[in-house]
Amino acid sequence: MRAPSETAAGETLLAVEAVSLSFGGVKALTDVSFDIRRGEIRAIIGPNGAGKTSMLNVVNGFYHPNTGRITFKGTTRPKMRPHEAARGGIARTFQNVALFRGMTALDNIMAGRTLKMHRGFFWQLLRHGPAMAEEVEHRRKVEDIIDFLEIAHIRKVPVGRLPYGLQKRVELGRALAMEPELLLLDEPMAGMNLEEKEDMSRFIVDLNDQFGTSIALIEHDMGVVMDLSDRVVVLEYGHKIADGTPDEVKGDQKVIDAYLGVAH
């Protein structure tokens, strides 16, 4: 458990209000509200199929909620495309790694800089002068990320050939390259062994401390969630059943029921 004082004071970065989402007849989310404050690590937990990933998909514009409002950085947005969310400063990683498999680790992370690169098409054709200078400048930033994530040795390897744990790291690197204000991490530690989990936890805490990035984190490992997060929201069958600090949530009867099952 981290000291709450360092983050709890932040203003509200993202507010989700009464969001509902359904596919055909299936309700994925029902009337969910929560907020993320600037600089905090916010965990979203819940049993399988609780709607956690759907929640992230709504936040970064991949799904559009049927009802409800989402306010990010003070503006309530109408329907937003994912690339607009990216422009606004939301980055994310995926449950099943969504890297560009044919590209090297370096190119994947460089691709994350796309939005920050402005040299026009005709300079790109030459790849000299300003275009090259821009490439080099961004390469330097990308190398910082590569150092931070300790993946220098694999930078020229096509990511399709990397082991799972490293792929997850490259994906995190790509998200970081966008210099996001809000980072959505969908099970960043799924399928990892203990050592890898420790590494990944360290990266998450470090980047939260160093860059002040706000993080929304989906994770199944309760130990990790309790250690890392400032506040936790709990979903079950698309409903929010609890919201609070890790300790509050841990003691909540509904949460215990959801995880352990209720005797009827």
Binding site: R87, M103, A111, T114, L125, R139, M178
Partner: protein
């Protein structure tokens, strides 16, 4: 011991980001360029230049075009022939409307027209992908075919309905028309192809190239890092069609000398697609390999069987070629889906660590 990179340290990111970071590769490239620009025109016979080298370079250029779209951006197109045709007809209209305009300028400009047409026919790619898009590009192919036949304005109302290439000169030397020597035609084509390959390589190694590949590998993730899908896809169509258009213009003006609309039919589209598949999806050098194999195979078969003393009718050779090409495509997809360029890579890798296996 020749192919070693030990001791070559890169001291800047720019050096590491060069397209050929290894010194031997740069030397190799220089040797190839010298051979192509000086050696080949001096050594090769007129026949080899006109019948082998000229077509090969033109096909390679068209294959690069399709490769940008299909190999790099992952959008399968069956409309290549049509886009090549647009380039050829545009070039014809340009050079007959402005007879004094430099022919090379005409050829390079005609690509712009093809590029615009390509972008228009790329519009469906915003809504659909995969097989559906392939079928949608067929509509481009058949529609353009129809236009070439039905709009006499495109061929200046020639009775033959074909493009009849006028004589154009460059620095006083005939470049097009019956009097243009194979050497001159070869050199002009080589210069254009080399230049455009360099441009393509620049583009694909930078931000734009990364966006293309991101869309190819996972379009959803690409959108989530801020890449606009529609912009990227249309750009890919435009760039790709530019290359196809220039290749089409070169094909008619510097190779065929005259061309009926049938030249730009669906068969041409398939031929170029096969070159890209066999060469390597997503590799520039592969486009050259693919063109060499697919175009060279019938020639090699014909001459090879002739050399063996077998008298085989031309039609049979053609059928055998079709079978071999078809078989090779399946074979390549099975044993090496990354095509000839991948074999080339593996070869280089082996050479780099030789005599050790790893």
């Amino acid at each position: 011991m020749l192919y070693r990179e030990a001791g070559q340290f890169k001291e800047s990111y720019a050096a590491d980001m060069a397209i050929f970071p290894i010194r031997q590769d740069r030397i190799g490239l220089a040797i190839i360029l010298v051979a192509a620009f000086v050696g080949v025109p001096l050594a090769a016979s007129d026949f080899v230049l006109a019948v082998v080298m000229v077509p090969l370079l033109i096909f390679a250029l068209a294959a690069i075009g399709l490769n940008i779209l299909t190999g790099y951006t992952g959008l399968l197109s069956l409309g290549t022939g049509g886009f090549m045709g647009v380039g050829a007809f545009a070039c014809y209209k340009l050079t007959t409307a402005f007879p004094d305009l430099n022919i090379v300028v005409c050829i390079l400009t005609s690509g712009v027209v093809a590029s615009a047409v390509g972008a228009v026919f790329g519009l469906p790619s915003l809504r659909i992908k995969g097989f559906y898009l392939a079928v949608a590009t067929l509509s481009a192919q058949f529609f353009l075919d129809w236009c070439f036949v039905r709009i006499p304005w495109l061929v200046n109302h020639n009775v033959s309905g074909a493009i009849e290439v006028p004589i154009r000169t460059l620095f006083g030397v005939a470049v097009t028309g019956p009097n243009a020597s194979p050497q001159v035609r070869y050199l002009v084509i080589l210069a254009i192809v080399t230049f455009l390959t360099w441009i393509a390589s620049n583009l694909l190694h930078g931000r734009v190239g990364r966006s293309f590949m991101a869309v190819r590998d996972m379009d959803i993730a690409a959108e989530l890092i801020g890449i606009k899908l529609y912009q990227t896809k249309l750009l890919a169509f435009a760039v790709s069609s530019y290359y196809c258009g220039v290749a089409g213009a070169l094909m008619v003006f510097l190779w065929y000398g005259s061309a009926e609309p049938a030249v730009f039919g669906i068969d041409q589209s398939f031929l170029i697609l096969f070159m890209v598949i066999i060469g390597c999806l997503g590799s520039l050098v592969g486009s050259f390999f693919g063109a060499a194999l697919i175009y060279g195979l019938p020639i090699a078969l014909r001459n090879g069987l002739g050399a063996l003393g077998l008298q085989i009718p031309a039609a049979t050779v053609e059928h055998l070629t079709l079978m071999t090409v078809g078989g090779l495509i399946v074979l390549f997809l099975i044993i090496e889906p990354h095509g000839l360029a991948r074999l080339w890579q593996i070869g280089k890798q082996k050479l780099r660590v030789w005599p050790f296996p790893y």
